[in-house]
Symmetry: none
Subunit: 259 residues, 2 copies
Amino acid sequence: MDQKLADLISLGLTRPSPVIILVEQQLFENIGMVARAMANFGLGELRLVKPRDGWSVSSTLPKGAHQAASGAVPVLEAAKLFDDVRAATADMNRVYATTARERDQMKQVLTPGEAMPQMAARIATGERVGILFGRERTGLENAEIGMSNAIITFPVNPVFSSLNLAQAVLLIGYEWMKHARNDAVPYTRETDVAPARQATLLSFFDFLDAELDKAGHFPADKRDIMSRNLRDILQRREMSEQDVRSLRGAISALVRRNS
Amino acid sequence: MDQKLADLISLGLTRPSPVIILVEQQLFENIGMVARAMANFGLGELRLVKPRDGWSVSSTLPKGAHQAASGAVPVLEAAKLFDDVRAATADMNRVYATTARERDQMKQVLTPGEAMPQMAARIATGERVGILFGRERTGLENAEIGMSNAIITFPVNPVFSSLNLAQAVLLIGYEWMKHARNDAVPYTRETDVAPARQATLLSFFDFLDAELDKAGHFPADKRDIMSRNLRDILQRREMSEQDVRSLRGAISALVRRNS
C-alpha cells in the first residue's frame, strides 16, 4: 500500500470528509498548524493553492510546516498543490468560502454549525465538499468567493474578532467531528452504571433514620419532614449499589465510634 | 469608572459568562493566548491559580502574556490570582473540570456543546459557573477534578488528539457564543434553588473526612480514593445551601452521640 495512505489510515483520517483548501498562505507554520487542527478532528484532505513560499509535493516538507504540524505530518505529506482556486475546486460538488467580513455577494451565509448538517448529508451521498480559507491578512478575493456556493462565517465577538487561520479550521473540524459523531464523548459516562435497586436504597434510608433516631436528631413534630428531606437529597444522587454501600459504610463508621 | 472595567466594556466582555480558571500554567504565552481566545467569544473573566512563573496583578503584565494576548490585554489586566483551586472556586455555584483523558471518577461527562445549555441557564439565573483548565502537560490533578461537579471533554479524533490550552478555551468560548446568541434556551432546572457555593460544599467535605478519620473509617492506602468517591456521590447532583446544612446536621448528630 502507498505509505502516505497507510499513515493517514493510522491516524483515522481517511473517512470521507470536507476538503480543506488553503489559498495563498504566507507562512509554512500556519499550514502546519492547520494540518494539526485537521488531524484533531478527523479531517485528512488538504489542498494548497500557491503558498507564497512554494511547496514541494515530491521532496521533503518545508521545515516550518513540518514542525508546526507536530504528529499531523501525514496530512501535509498527502496535501495536493494547485495553481488557483478554480483548479483546486474542479472536482468538488459544493464549495464553501470562509470569511470574517460581510461581503457584497448574494449568497447564503452560514455558521459552521449550520453548514455542517448539509455538508454531512452531501458527503454521505458521495458528493465532494470543499471549504476555502483565504490569505492570512486579506482573506479570499471576491472572485474566489464568487466561485463558491455559500459563505461560512464564525459567530465571534463583533467588537473583538481575531481568529487566526488554524483556529478557523479548528472550529470547522470541531463541528465536523461533532456532527460525524453525533456529539458523542470518547469515553464512558455516569449513566453506564445501573442505579441501585430500590430495596437497597430504602433499606439504607431506614438504617439512617434509625441511627438518627438513636442520636436524637429528629424533634418529634418534625421527624417526617426532616427524614423525607434527607431522602430527597440522597435520592437525587442516583446512587449505584456500590455508592449506597460506600455511604452506608461511612455512616456506620461514624456511628460505631465511641459506642 | 475603573479603567479596567471600562476596557472590558469596550470589548463587550462584561456580560455574565463562565469564568475561565487556569491552574498552574507554565508559560505566559499560553495565558495570553487564552485571553485572546476568550475575547473572541465574549468571555471576560479570567482567574489564575499559581502560574509557574508568578503573576502580578498590580504592576505591569508579563511581556510574553501581553504580546500573545494581542488586543485582549484587558482580560489579562482584570485577571484575578489565587493560591489554589479551592480558593479560586469558593464563590462558584457550579464548577466544570476539563480533561482529555478518562478519569476514574463517577462524574457526568459532557461535551462543550452538551454543557453549554445548562451553563447558560444557570448563569441566566444569576449563578456563578467556573471552568477549570489544567497544567499544559499534566492537566488537572484528581483532587482538583474531585472538587468539580462535572467533567467537560472534547470530542477529538481518538487516534490523534493534541488540543492545546488556548484551543480548548477557544472551543468553550465558541459554544458559549453560539448559545448566548440563541435567546431561547430550553432547559428546565431540577430545582429552583441555587446550588450551594463551592466553599460550603468543600467545608462540608472536609468536616466529613475529619470525622471519618477520627472514626478510623479510612484504611491509610485507600483514604484518597474512598474520600473522593464519597465526594463524587454527594456532588453528583447539586445540593443547595440548605441541603448541605441538613446533611451536615445529620452527620453531626451521629457523631455527637455517645461522645
